[in-house]
C-alpha cells in the first residue's frame, strides 16, 4: 500500500485512541466519584475538616492548598520567566542569550524529585533557621515549584518571542528601534497569545505537580494562614491516601479530588483552545 494512504489512517487511529483514553479516564473518575457527589457525602466533602476517622472527608483545605501553591508559584515564576525572555531578546547582551536558554532547557531535564531533594536539604534548613517551625511549608514548596515551572513559561514565551522577532526585527531595526525598544514596544505587545498560553500551561503544570508539595509543603490538611504554614494539595492528598488506604470512604473521596483536578486541567485546555481561535 502506498505510504501516503496509510499515514492519515494511522494518525486518525492515534488521535482516536488518545481522545478515547482521555474520555475513558474522565468517565472512570465520574463513575467512581458519583456516589461521593450524592447526599450527605457531598456536604462532608465540601467542608474544611479532613478527619476520616470521624467520617469527615472535607477536601476544601486541599483545594485551597492547590490554588494557593499554584498561584504563588505562578506569581514568582511568571514575572521571572517574562523578565528572562525580555533579557534574552533585547534587554541583555546578545552573548548572554544562548547560555541562558541552554540553562533553562537543561532545567527541563532535571527530574522533579531532584528539585524536591535539593530543596529538602538546602532550602528547608534555611527557612527553619531564618523563621520558625519545621521549614516544610507553603513557602518552601512555592519557591521550588516556581523553579520547576519556570522552564515551561520561558520556553513557550521564547518560542513566541522568536516568531515575532523574526517577523519584525529587520523592519524595526531599519526604523531606528534599539533592541530594548524592539522587545518592549513591539515583541511584547504582539505576544499576547503567547503570554496567555504560557500563563495557562504554567498554572496547569503547577497545579498538577505532586512530588514538590508532597516532599516540601508539610502536608497538613489545613488552610494555610501564612507562607510559613504547611499545606496539602489535591495531588499530594491523593498520593498520601492511596499509599495508606484502598478500601475506606476516604478512598472514595479521592475520586472527587481527581475530578476537580481533571476539571481544572480541562478548563485550562478549553481556555487555550479559545485563545488559539481568537
Amino acid at each position: 500500500m502506498p505510504r501516503g494512504n496509510i499515514t492519515p489512517s494511522l494518525l486518525l487511529f492515534a488521535t482516536l485512541v488518545s481522545a478515547l483514553s482521555v474520555l475513558a479516564i474522565f468517565g472512570f473518575l465520574l463513575w467512581f466519584a458519583a456516589p461521593v457527589f450524592t447526599g450527605e457525602t457531598l456536604s462532608s466533602l465540601l467542608s474544611w475538616q479532613w478527619r476520616p476517622q470521624q467520617g469527615e472527608f472535607g477536601i476544601l483545605p486541599m483545594l485551597a492548598g492547590s490554588l494557593c501553591l499554584a498561584g504563588s508559584a505562578m506569581l514568582l515564576a511568571y514575572p521571572l520567566g517574562l523578565g528572562l525572555c525580555c533579557f534574552m531578546h533585547g534587554l541583555g547582551p546578545t552573548w548572554a542569550a544562548r547560555p541562558l536558554l541552554g540553562i533553562v532547557r537543561g532545567m527541563t531535564s532535571v527530574p522533579t524529585v531532584v528539585y524536591g531533594l535539593v530543596s529538602a536539604f538546602l532550602l528547608i534548613p534555611l527557612i527553619r533557621a531564618g523563621f520558625s517551625g519545621s521549614g516544610f511549608s507553603w513557602l518552601a514548596a512555592g519557591l521550588t515549584l516556581a523553579m520547576l515551572i519556570l522552564p515551561t513559561i520561558v520556553l513557550i514565551l521564547d518560542s513566541q518571542f522568536r516568531t515575532i522577532h523574526a517577523q519584525t526585527q529587520l523592519t524595526a531595526a531599519a526604523l531606528g528601534f534599539t533592541p530594548a525598544q524592539q522587545v518592549l514596544r513591539l515583541t511584547l505587545p504582539l505576544s499576547t497569545r503567547g503570554l496567555l498560553v504560557a500563563a495557562a500551561l504554567g498554572f496547569g503544570r503547577a497545579i498538577g505537580d505532586t512530588l514538590i508539595p508532597l516532599m516540601l509543603a508539610g502536608n497538613a490538611p489545613l488552610l494555610p494562614h501564612s507562607p510559613l504554614d504547611p499545606l496539602r494539595t489535591l495531588t499530594s492528598h491523593i498520593a498520601l491516601v492511596v499509599a495508606t488506604d484502598s478500601q475506606s470512604a476516604a478512598y472514595g473521596s479521592l475520586f472527587a479530588c481527581g475530578v476537580i483536578l481533571f476539571m481544572v486541567s480541562l478548563l485550562v485546555n478549553l481556555a487555550l483552545r479559545r485563545l488559539r481561535h481568537e
Partner: protein, 259 residues
C-alpha cells in the same frame, strides 16, 4: 574602480574600501563609490551580485544578520552632519532612522495602518500623540495614500493591497524625516499599476531626498535615474554615462557587456 565626487560637491554617501562577508564568505570586496547628494541613483546588477548587501551596509542593517563582518569606511551627509557610519561613537539607531530604508517586499508591522506610522515616531523620536497624528497624515498624503485609508486608519495594515502596503512602508520611512532613502527593489513584488504608482512617487521624492535604489528594472532606470551604477559579483562597480542609460538600447547592450 573608484567613482568619486569632487571636493566642492561632497557626496551624500561616500564608500571606501568596503568589504562585507557572511560566515567568512565574502559578498562585497574592496568597493569604493560616491553617491552624489540629491537625485535618484540606481544600482543595477545580477541577482547575487551584492546589491542588497551594499544597501544594507550603508545603514548597518547587515549587522542584524548572523555571521556578518564588515570593514572599510562609509560616510554619510545627514543634514549638516557628516557621519562616519562605522565609527564606534556613531549612534546606529539614529543612522538607520536618518538613512531610511524600504524593503523589497512590503514589510508592514502586524499593527493597524495608523500604528505602523505612529509607533516608530513615538518610540524612536519620543513624539506625543498629536505630533504623531499630524506626521502620519502628512506622510500618508506625501505617498498619495491618505484618501484611500483615512476612513480606516484603525484597520490592520495587512488588509491593504500590496501596492498600498509598499506606499505605507514608504510613508512610515518618510514620517521619520530621513535625509537619505535606501530602496531595495521597491517595485519587485508589485503588479504593473502599483509599480507605476511607486515610480511616480520616486520621481517626486528625488526632488527632495537623496535616493539610492537597487533595481533589476532597466526601464525604470532608463526613465527615472540621475545616475546609474552597475555592480559585478561584489567586486567591481561601474558608473554608466548618462548618454548610455538615457538610451534604452545602449543601456541594454552596456549591461550585456558589463554583467
Amino acid at each position: 574602480m573608484d567613482h568619486r565626487t569632487d571636493a566642492l560637491n561632497p557626496a551624500a554617501i561616500r564608500i571606501r574600501h568596503l568589504s562585507v562577508s557572511f560566515a567568512n564568505r565574502p559578498v562585497l570586496r574592496d568597493l569604493s563609490l560616491d553617491i552624489p547628494a540629491g537625485g535618484l541613483t540606481f544600482l543595477l546588477g545580477r541577482s547575487g551580485s551584492g546589491k542588497t548587501t551594499l544597501l544594507r551596509a550603508i545603514n548597518r542593517l547587515n549587522e542584524c544578520l548572523p555571521g556578518c563582518a564588515t570593514c572599510g569606511q562609509i560616510e554619510l551627509q545627514l543634514g549638516a552632519t557628516r557621519l562616519d557610519a562605522y565609527a564606534p561613537s556613531t549612534p546606529v539607531e539614529e543612522l538607520r532612522r536618518r538613512a531610511g530604508m524600504v524593503f523589497q517586499s512590503p514589510n508592514v508591522l502586524p499593527l493597524s495602518i495608523a500604528r505602523n506610522l505612529s509607533l516608530p515616531l513615538a518610540v524612536t523620536l519620543g513624539l506625543g500623540a498629536a505630533e504623531c497624528e499630524a506626521r502620519t497624515e502628512q506622510a500618508l498624503r506625501e505617498v498619495h495614500l491618505w484618501n484611500e485609508v483615512k476612513n480606516r486608519l484603525g484597520a490592520p495594515a495587512a488588509t491593504l493591497s500590496g501596492g498600498q502596503q509598499q506606499r505605507l512602508c514608504l510613508a512610515r520611512t518618510l514620517a521619520l524625516r530621513p535625509d537619505i532613502l535606501l530602496l531595495d527593489e521597491p517595485t519587485a513584488s508589485l503588479d504593473f499599476k502599483a509599480a507605476r504608482q511607486i515610480e511616480e512617487l520616486l520621481a517626486e521624492l528625488k526632488l527632495r531626498y537623496t535616493l539610492l535604489v537597487v533595481s533589476h528594472s532597466l526601464s525604470q532606470a532608463h526613465r527615472l535615474a540621475d545616475q546609474v551604477f552597475v555592480l559585478h559579483d561584489g567586486q567591481r562597480i561601474e558608473a554608466l554615462p548618462e548618454s548610455t542609460f538615457r538610451d534604452k538600447e545602449a543601456l541594454m547592450s552596456a549591461l550585456d557587456e558589463l554583467v
